[in-house]
Assembly symmetry: none
Homo-oligomer: 197 residues x 4
DNA sequence: AATGAATGAGATTTCATTCAT
DNA sequence: TATGAATGAAATCTCATTCAT
């Protein structure tokens, strides 16, 4: 005899977020190559079949996780964003926000780095992700117009303004560097020296 | 008494290098997750079993490939290395060597980036790899002593002196940036502005 | 609150027993060396992957099969076991039970013999298996105390009381011996003559 | 340029016996299932290809090893064999010879037991092997004719006269039993009691 | 005779996904 | 919605054997 009783049928936010965390954790620990659907399900405490209730397939799970983090990151970077401050102060604020985000969410950040450097990144709609960060680009544009920032290609500017942080915040890449306010301030000085006119 | 002086059937250098190229190519195209031993073997035109004549296992193949590229890269960077030039000229030379290497060996470079950002990187004996690049660190050290370069943590200096190149040279990350002599010179200006006193 | 009362798709007893029979059959026919998981699966009519739903790995399948037979055998030997009968009658009863079991389940018995003589046997928790046969050891003990059985090491007693059956019941080892009531009775006479005082 | 110089071309007895010992050792340690040609070759210190100089194939190596041990064993059993002694003394002598052989060559004996209980045994020409032991059968025959030994099937007699030794000499099967002269004498008493009229 | 290289075949096991409930 | 069972496909790796020298 079969008994089949339930109350409620809504998707469970707890399961969804357990899957998110499990995905990030496993991919960081053992990489994309070894992170199977079964292992992620076990880590999240659900059945492998349940994943297919929330995501179309494994690829969807990974890409969704990436995009969710990117959105989260963009919000963190733009906290207390204020157009009217001096350019340097705006950038300094973003810089510190990023350090804070990475420090507090190292796992998320590591996932994003690994994802970005893998062929999975080609599955992401880049335009969608980039729009999250548009204000940051606009600041640089304004800086150029005001002759405060060097008038060079945007890719060059971001390579010096934003990318060094991702290195410095990665404990795997930096052995000596300690993530404290003083060091972050120092590093920002270099970033600013690089791009300022 | 028995005397044996023979030349046995020896390992085939062509097979070895075919495996190297196949590994790089496939990992770049489909990632670690999908690059199976069988596929690599097929790409290299050998039997999957043959891989195990040359490498202990898949991990060994990947790690060996990584280390081989790192060694190759370090040699390229240190081409025409001359202690007696002014610091800025030495660094500028390395900077151009790196651009040249990445331009000519984009596949190798992409493999290294993906590898570095994956958990595979923990399998590498970092000390062994780092020693290849010791001269580059020493230049910065000298610069600090001569009060030409900012006296800050080495990790910070390299984050601005070497890391931006890896971003700029990656067509996946930079859509607008064109790899030509002028742009490279410009980018170096920013790097130097960042670290110089 | 969510209430779940359901009966899930449950493991299939038929599959489990098909795997048991297939394992015994194949190992007897072609030996451990050639009995691959794939072949066992094919013989049982399931997918190779299904075996891993029921058993942790191949070793677990083999060991579990061995233990299951040993338990089955012990139950058969102790059928109609009655402490109060004369010692000789108890042992004679066990002796006949064993012959009957082996005759009716020659495949099981052959599997056990091959397993016991292979390095797989070291994987079994011997204490667990031996406890099944404790009553048989106790009978001998009682016989010694009552001065009916020779007061010698237990290993010697069992070597004569139980082991000869395993030889006689093995058609591969005995070409002339026919498994009939008269011969079994005769053989028991020798066993009894060996151990009685 | 290839240099290929040798003196002598005869098969090397040392290699042959190294292969014999390696086969016995490995099969005892890891079983037939895991004893690959490569592992045996490595254990013997030769190339896998060399095995095929001495044996037709793997099966031939295993069967030859078995037969060699059986021949060796038969010679040991029949040491000091003397038709004219009383039956009991002849058998007692064989019994002690067997204990001695097994004690001194436990590895050989364990290999034989594992081989006999595996389907490999069907590959052996049984008649060839049995002829080595003909004198032992003849003794029993004589005993029956002289009305010293019970007139029962030969298989029964050997099951009590020879087989118990194989159990008692196996340390894996007997935990308490110690292989010393007194215990062996005792065990022989039981064997004799079993078969004597 | 002896062997390191090479490999097709096949080993064990895990995969992503679907099914039945 | 949720899941344990089930599986074809494919993963990594080892196998027995042959080849070229």
């Amino acid at each position: 005899m079969i008994v089949y009783l339930r109350i409620m049928r809504t998707k469970d936010d707890e399961k969804d977020s357990a899957l998110f965390e499990a995905t990030v954790k496993l991919v960081n620990e053992i990489g994309f190559a070894s992170s199977s659907v079964s292992k992620i399900a076990r880590e999240a405490g659900v059945s492998p079949a349940t994943i297919y209730v929330y995501y179309k397939n494994k690829e969807d799970l990974l890409v969704s996780t990436y995009i969710a983090i990117k959105l989260d990151l963009s919000k963190a970077l733009l906290r207390d964003f204020n157009d009217h401050l001096p350019i340097r102060d705006i950038l300094r604020n973003v810089w510190f926000n990023m350090f804070e985000y990475i420090s507090n969410n190292l796992e998320y950040y590591k996932f994003v780095e690994q994802f970005s450097n893998s062929p999975f990144s080609s599955l992401v709609d880049k335009q969608e992700v980039e729009q999250y960060f548009v204000p940051l680009v606009k600041v640089l544009q304004t800086g150029i117009e005001q002759k405060i920032i060097k008038n060079v290609n945007f890719d060059i500017l971001t390579a010096f303004m934003y990318h060094p942080i991702t290195v410095l915040a990665n404990p795997g890449l930096c052995q000596d560097f300690e993530l404290n306010a003083e060091n972050i301030e120092t590093a920002f000085t270099l970033a600013w020296d690089a791009i300022k006119l």
